[in-house]
């Protein structure tokens, strides 16, 4: 009985929902200092959910809940990634909140909202119908809007939240409109049924479907933060407080890829000829604009925002390649990118002190003299983002290039790598600031860096993982590849 229960594909989501309710109630009734109990419970719920996902790894692909919910190896990989990222995110966030003056902290709200957003990600990942996909997406997004607005008394925070919410609502509208057009032509909301109907159409598609596709791609591009829907990214990254930027910059990207996989690869594979050039243009525009504009940024978070746009471009290139290898490499890229982005924001949190928030790149000046180990970790993260071996960032880029070259798109690969070189400038600039310059003699900059032990350990593990996955990338690549190598959609 219990074993049967453990094999139930929706168990992680259900368990997580129950735990979230518990955390919510606890916060109401238990007086706690610095939200310690909420934090512990939130971590516990993530760990429990992670265990449940692990238990499912041998469960065959299947569809439940009247075809609303799918379980397959793509869902398995992405859920694992999201949950592991979630654990790290909460560790860093806890450190950031510990440093804030204790007055207006809504820290247990952070954990509850964060957990809800993660639940949304899990549901998006497993959605098998446009309806559940949309619901999951909204569950993912709404807590993020609220999180960005937590420091609403600060002007740029409020502005960022407003911008994010309005543009996000617009994107949801676009997506929904696209869904309705697809529903109108295929008469089904179920993803596998849509794909089947379209494959029987024999290459003849109505114009309505194409318009629907454009809206859907627009929605995906917004959620991922790709050009031309990128304008919210820098403002939100800069306006939100760092732990929330850390959240937005890591796990939702993975969920965004899940959205693209479910919609483009699972639902609309027959329209491959139509979405491939669109996506290629979006990808090229993203890494061009992201890499070029990042060069002139002086604000570290803004620079990382443009770098995120550029990385999304590379992630989409794998889908453009249109082969299982390409999809797998996109998945590999997005998970390693999320790990890098998390490390970078985690480092900003760790180096920031109670009265000294890291904002500008120059605030890292002379970090090597102040704290060599943290500087070394940041060095690894930066070189990994730039794609220099032996870090995982190199293999992520190499996988994408390999996928592109194997479908004879050498020119696209060349363009991608040329912009990767241009992009490497602003990463090595950060290294330059940390290593080649001495700390500016202000009182804040010269005081020793104080970090909580857990966050310190987490960041060390995070950065060392980038090296370890760079030296032994095979296992994680194999996991990503196995997600796409078998036909894991149940036959009806």
């Amino acid at each position: 009985m219990l074993v049967q229960l453990l094999k139930f594909p929706a168990l992680p989501e259900i368990a997580l929902l129950i735990m979230i309710c518990v955390v919510l109630l606890l916060d109401l009734f238990v007086k706690q200092k610095r939200a310690l109990l909420s934090y512990v419970m939130a971590q516990l719920s993530l760990v429990v959910t992670l265990c449940f996902v692990f238990c499912l790894h041998l469960v065959p692909a299947q569809v439940i809940f009247r075809q609303q919910f799918v379980w397959d190896s793509v869902a398995y990989c992405i859920k694992l990634t999201v949950l592991i990222l979630g654990i790290f995110i909460f560790i860093y966030a806890r450190d950031a909140m510990g440093k804030k003056p204790p007055k207006p902290v809504y820290s247990s709200e952070f954990y509850v909202l964060g957990l809800f957003s993660i639940l949304g990600m899990l549901i998006v990942t497993s959605a098998n119908s446009l309806l559940s996909l949309y619901l999951g997406l909204e569950l993912l997004s709404f807590p993020l809007y609220a999180l960005v607005a937590t420091e609403r008394w600060q002007a740029n925070s409020a502005e960022a939240a407003m911008k994010y919410f309005i543009l996000g609502a617009l994107a949801s509208g676009l997506l929904l409109y696209g869904f309705s057009l697809v529903y109108g032509t295929t008469h089904s909301l179920v993803i596998s049924a849509i794909s089947q109907t379209l494959s029987h159409a024999g290459g003849q598609f109505s114009i309505i479907l194409s318009i629907g596709l454009i809206f859907i791609i627009g929605g995906i591009a917004f959620k991922l933060g790709a050009v031309p829907f990128q304008s919210w990214v820098p403002d939100v990254y800069q306006g939100a407080t760092t732990p929330i930027t850390l959240f937005i910059g890591s796990a939702p990207k993975v969920a965004g890829l899940a959205l693209a996989i479910r919609l483009l690869i699972d639902a609309l594979p027959s329209l491959h000829q139509q979405w491939q050039p669109l996506l290629a243009i979006i990808a090229i525009a993203s890494f061009c604009l992201g890499n070029l504009v990042a060069i002139i940024q002086t604000n570290l978070k803004r620079m990382l925002a443009y770098s995120a746009i550029a990385h999304i471009g590379y992630i989409l290139l794998g889908i453009v390649a249109g082969t299982p290898l390409g999809y797998a490499m996109s998945l590999f890229y997005v998970s390693s990118y999320a790990l890098m982005a998390m490390g970078a924001f985690g480092l900003i949190i760790l180096v920031s002190q109670a009265n000294y928030e890291i904002e500008q790149i120059d605030d890292l000046r002379g970090l090597n003299a102040r704290h060599p180990w943290l500087a070394l970790l940041m060095l690894v993260i930066m070189f990994s983002m730039a794609g220099i071996p032996p870090t995982v960032g190199f293999f992520a880029k190499m996988g994408i290039l390999q996928a592109l070259i194997s479908v004879d798109q050498v020119w696209l690969a060349t363009l991608a790598i040329i912009f990767a070189i241009i992009g490497s400038y602003y990463y090595i600039y950060v290294v330059k600031v940390m290593y080649f310059e001495e700390p500016t003699p202000t009182i804040q900059a010269l005081q020793p860096v104080q970090v909580s032990r857990v966050a310190y350990l987490a960041l060390s593990i995070n950065a060392i993982l980038l090296l370890v996955f760079g030296l032994f990338p095979n296992w994680i690549m194999w996991l990503a590849k196995s997600a796409f190598s078998v036909i894991n959609y149940p036959i009806y």
């Binding site: 190499m398 070259i405 070189i421 490497s424 290294v431 080649f436 990338p473 095979n474």
Partner: protein, 517 residues
């Protein structure tokens, strides 16, 4: 029991000696960082020295066990590394890579010794950076899998970037970023070429050897040739992609300049021998005129540019470019030699000359950079005009420097003579004019080297600082003696080097004469 353990252990070492040579310095670098904070620099120095000496010792069994008669890879190690992409951890040495590996280890030892008293800032990180560079360098030369080769090739940028930027002189940030972007740009296109070749090779693997029999059309070959050319031309460096080198050399610390000149430039020449010539022979044959022209421009034009330099390090940097032009000439003249004469051995001699030139240039320019580094450390200036009359106060340094300068000029009896002479002699078979233009380097290099020598070491003692200076001390003497021995030995008796590389060069030569169309 104990004996069995020992024999097992020695067997393990025998099978993995190249890996050991790569991972020993990495371990040493980690140890140097761990055992010494900024409070105990001496510990870092000792750890680095021990690591470096251990690497030297490991070279002995490799040299003894190496069979120079074979042209194949020896001491091979092959482990599947990323089976998804068919990337293997493949190591091996032949007669081309072995001298360069020894050179890397020898140079690192010199760098560590010379930094003993002259580096005081973040000593542990300095030592670790150079040990890491040694590991990456050995890995690059020993890799038989092209992706592994690329990984070492790129990973080297990290410690080099840091060493220029952290320990360099005033304009170091500019120079290090320029260095990084140039070399990264060059090698990125090579990655595309390697991936392309790997996808088309027989087993979809990335072994360099499995690229050799691959059939490629002429247009493919030309694209791949240019992708390789940009990578190697930046490293070697060839005109017009050389502009990073004078900046990087000038701003780098003494050790950084030495590694740049003695090792990093050699990667370009190694790349031509290992990749360009055997993988795309038809494109190389088609475009050899371009390459020879670029080499001659480097030799003559850069030689003239060197004459005008006022900064000693910059002068030696330009002289390096001119000398590496000879390596390019030696690599690509063989096609026109085989066109003109039947005597294959002459053409092969040009390749061997290129190889000897790489080794000898490492000694002479490395030595000169070390010497200038010592001067810059003592007198805080690299400008020629700030010096004068040093020979009076520092006779030992003056004597050593004279020898290194002579080797740089290519005086018979020094290592610098052998390579240039071999290349010029074989080039004579191809074309009188090419040889004449190339031979102008003998005049030019004598002019700029000796003119600098005269202004720095002779004449009036120019400043009180020089008047009160002391001659070189123990560690510096040791470094110079080691270099002198190497320069004179290979100048008088280059045979061991030639026998070591003969068979391997021969096989590269045969591969570059084949046609793949």
């Amino acid at each position: 029991m104990f004996l069995i353990l020992i024999s097992q252990l020695s067997l393990f070492f025998k099978d993995h000696i190249l890996s050991l040579l790569i991972f020993l310095p990495i371990t040493g670098a980690c140890c140097a960082i761990v055992v010494s904070g900024d409070a105990h620099p001496q510990r870092a120095r000792i750890v680095a020295l021990i690591t470096s000496l251990c690497s030297m010792v490991l070279c002995i069994p490799i040299y003894l066990g190496f069979n120079p008669g074979l042209s194949t890879m020896q001491f091979q190690e092959n482990v599947p590394w990323i089976p998804i992409f068919h990337v293997n951890y493949g190591l091996g040495v032949d007669g081309i890579s072995l001298p360069l590996i020894f050179l890397s280890i020898f140079t690192t030892l010199l760098v560590i010794l010379s930094a003993w008293r002259s580096v005081h800032l973040r000593v542990a990180q300095y030592m670790a950076a150079f040990l890491l560079m040694q590991a990456m360098m050995v890995g690059t030369f020993a890799a038989t899998d092209s992706i592994l080769f690329y990984i070492f090739w790129e990973a080297m940028l990290i410690p080099m970037y840091l060493s220029i930027g952290v320990w360099g002189s005033s304009n170091r940030s500019y120079a290090s970023i320029k260095f990084f972007l140039y070399t990264f740009f060059g090698s990125a296109l090579m990655l595309i070429a390697l991936l392309y070749l790997g996808l088309h090779s027989a087993n979809h693997d990335f072994y360099i050897a499995s690229f050799y029999p691959l059939k490629l059309s002429m247009s493919e070959q030309i694209w791949i040739f240019f992708a390789f050319l940009i990578a190697f031309a930046v490293k070697i460096p060839m005109w017009p992609l050389h502009t990073w080198l004078p900046d990087a050399h000038t701003e780098a610390p003494a050790g950084g300049s030495v590694v740049l000149a003695a090792l990093m430039l050699k990667l370009g020449g190694y790349g031509f021998l290992r990749f360009s010539l055997p993988i795309v022979p038809d494109a190389s044959r088609l475009l050899d005129g371009v390459m020879i022209a670029l080499a001659l421009i480097a030799i003559v034009y850069i030689g003239i540019v060197a004459l005008a330099q006022v900064d000693m390090k910059r002068l030696i940097a330009y002289s390096s470019i001119a000398h590496m032009g000879f390596v390019v000439l030696g690599c690509f003249i063989l096609f026109s030699i085989t066109k003109h004469v039947q005597d294959i051995s002459m053409a092969q001699m040009s390749l061997e000359g290129a190889m000897v030139q790489m080794i000898s240039h490492a000694f002479s320019s490395g030595a000169m950079f070390l010497a200038v580094g010592m001067l810059a450390y003592r007198f805080r200036s690299r400008l020629i005009k700030d010096y004068g009359g040093l020979a009076l106060r520092m006779p030992l340094l003056a004597a050593f420097f004279m020898l290194f300068a002579m080797s740089n000029v290519g005086l018979p009896g020094t290592a610098g003579f052998v390579g240039e002479f071999m290349i010029l002699m074989s080039a004579m078979q191809a074309s009188f004019w090419i040889t004449t233009i190339a031979a102008s380097t003998l005049v030019l290099s004598a002019a700029y080297t000796l003119y600098m020598y005269k202004r720095v070491f002779y004449g009036e003692v120019s400043s009180p600082l020089i008047a009160n200076s002391k001659d070189i001390h123990g560690f510096e003497k040791l470094v110079f003696i080691l270099l002198t021995v190497a320069i004179v030995f290979f100048g008088v008796y280059p045979k061991p080097l030639l026998t070591l590389m003969h068979a391997a060069i021969g096989s590269i030569f045969q591969l570059s004469l084949q046609t793949k169309l």
